[in-house]
């Protein structure tokens, strides 16, 4: 479910590690230059398996840093995104995915509660109250709102077999929609990509909004300037399959396969996107 673009900020967490390291008294652990280099290296890596085997060490590091600085909202936000991403894109064991994304949700909640105190009371609010609370949060807190929503969403995806995941989706969607109101260009269109996915989950016969989904995906493509191939993959997999538009489905995926994999900050996820595009194209005839 997670488009690669999320990762740009996500892996930017290494810079935060450096900052936190300073706070926590381990300034020698990672210098900020090393952190930036590392982050870029990961995102520009074209071997996802190498990343998959290397990232768990990062997760341990983040956990360690958070336990040393439990009130560092930036570190918690980065942790939420990192655990969400690793849990939903790289881990394959279902039980571990739940454990990892539960941590993502927890970090996201803690992060926003520190950065924006009213959010500490959000848990358990009914839908209308939650939406009116969201209306008060401002743009300076968008990073925390985003991490909070992504952490939660990753957990819902991991537990999608349970009815509580179905029940909680509208709350997450409302949080993402508020973030979109605050800055629709955030994460180069990442918010639009997520909302496109969420609006494609239910067909119109079950109250879904395919037109809204399409508009979100189109805008996400525009904002990412076509560099992030995972948007096209999600557009095909979620939207085109839902509305049964084989022509759009195949066109988007063929464009993915014809595009260069290298794009600064997107290479890693573009490699994954190409693999998924191949699989989706292979099953196109059977599906449509």
């Amino acid at each position: 479910m997670f488009p690669g673009r999320t990762a740009r900020r996500l892996f930017g967490f290494t810079a935060l590690l450096a900052a936190a390291a300073g706070v926590g008294g381990c300034a020698n652990l990672i210098g900020s230059m090393a952190a930036d280099t590392l982050s870029a290296a990961i995102l520009n890596e074209n071997d996802p398996e190498l990343v998959a085997s290397g990232v768990p060490a990062y997760l341990l590091l983040v956990d360690g840093l958070i336990s040393r600085s439990p009130d560092n909202e930036s570190l918690l936000a980065a942790g939420a995104q990192l655990f969400a991403l690793y849990g939903s894109r790289f881990e394959t064991d279902p039980d571990r995915i739940v454990t990892l994304t539960a941590k993502a949700r927890d970090y996201g909640e803690r992060s926003i509660c520190i950065a924006y105190t009213p959010a500490c009371t959000w848990q358990g609010l009914d839908y209308d109250d939650f939406v009116s609370q969201l209306a008060a949060i401002q743009k300076k807190n968008i990073d925390y709102l985003y991490s909070y929503a992504i952490g939660w969403l990753s957990y819902l995806q991991a537990t999608s077999e349970d009815w509580s995941a179905v029940a909680e989706l509208p709350w997450v969607e409302a949080a993402l929609e508020r973030a979109l109101e605050l800055d629709e260009t955030y994460e180069n269109g990442g918010l639009h990509a997520y909302l496109g996915i969420l609006d494609s989950l239910r067909p119109p016969a079950l109250g879904g909004k395919p037109d809204a989904a399409k508009a979100h995906f189109e805008r996400a493509l525009e904002l990412s300037q076509g560099k992030d191939l995972s948007i096209k993959v999600e557009y095909a997999r979620r939207y085109a399959r839902m509305v049964f538009d084989q022509e759009l489905h195949d066109r988007l995926l063929e464009e993915v396969l014809a595009s260069p994999v290298e794009a600064d900050g997107f290479t890693l996820f573009n490699v994954l996107a190409k693999r998924e595009a191949e699989q989706l194209l292979a099953s196109s005839k059977e599906y449509f």
Binding site: L125, D126, Y127, D162, V166, A167, L169, L206, F244
Partner: protein, 346 residues
Amino acid sequence: MTRTRVSRWLARTLTALAVSLLALGSQAAEIKVATIAPDGSVWMREMRAGAQRIKERSAGRVEIKFYPGGVMGNDAQVLRKIRIGQLQGGAFTTGGLSERYSALNLYGIPLLFRSLDEVDYVRARLDPKLIAGLERAGFVSFGFSEGGFANLMANEPVRSVEDLRRKKVWVPEGDDISFLAMETMGLSPVVLPPTDVLTGLQTGLLDVVGASPVVALVLQWHTKVKYRTELPVSYSMGIFALDARAFDRLSVEDQTIVREIMGEVMHNLDATSREDNRRAAEVMTKAGVQPVAVNPADVEDWRATLESMYPELHRRPDMDAELLDELLAILAEYRSLGRTTSTLGE
């Protein structure tokens, strides 16, 4: 090997090949099926798994192709497409298919059942008759899967018929029997398709809606209501049915395979649905929708009023009078056994 033997061998082989190709050409059947269930849902996953097993067991002679997510339209549109041969089957709601076989409306009569135990008792005795009747009406089905009881949901607690007065109560489009029930109770029903309900609740066009907890969660109604009355109002089921004309074209062997495997799939879906609704109700409460109990005496009044419409039901063309009597007799029999629990909830 002499030339004659070679040519004889060749002729035999070619004939065998031709026969098998011919057989392949004439027997490979693609069955196109439409459903409202979205791809990726448990329902679709089970159906696809069943279809895969059918394809394997029939050595590729029977292939079922799905059109999920309602892309082929609502129940009525799917039925039209089946009639003209564009589709060979579909997954329907009981109400949706009742246009072709009215007895499917029986279980949905409001407040007919008092508990799921009663449902089980009746279904064990009547389901086979409904399946046979549906087959006479041109649809081969493989059992029903429970949709569960609709509960009333609203922004103010509904504990009695009085609480429903002067309220705008939703009736699903095409559900004439629920409409009649509302009128019998002196209420003012508002007819809308399910997809307009969320907006209806938002804009105040509707005050009270009815759905199973699972349906309410999927359609996100739990974001717009505050109370759920724990009264089993009307019972619904899902039906997977194939056009008998298409089914009859399959060989007897393949028909048996399809019946066996789809029967298992439906049985499993039927069995898991109850737990789904139980869990969905629990989750709704957690999401802030409070469960409300009804006063048992009020419910009995309510039932009595609705039972006064049975003679009218008897005369309706969209009701099967004979099976209605049989159903009521089965229920009376069950109740005389003294096994009815007083549980009003699920």
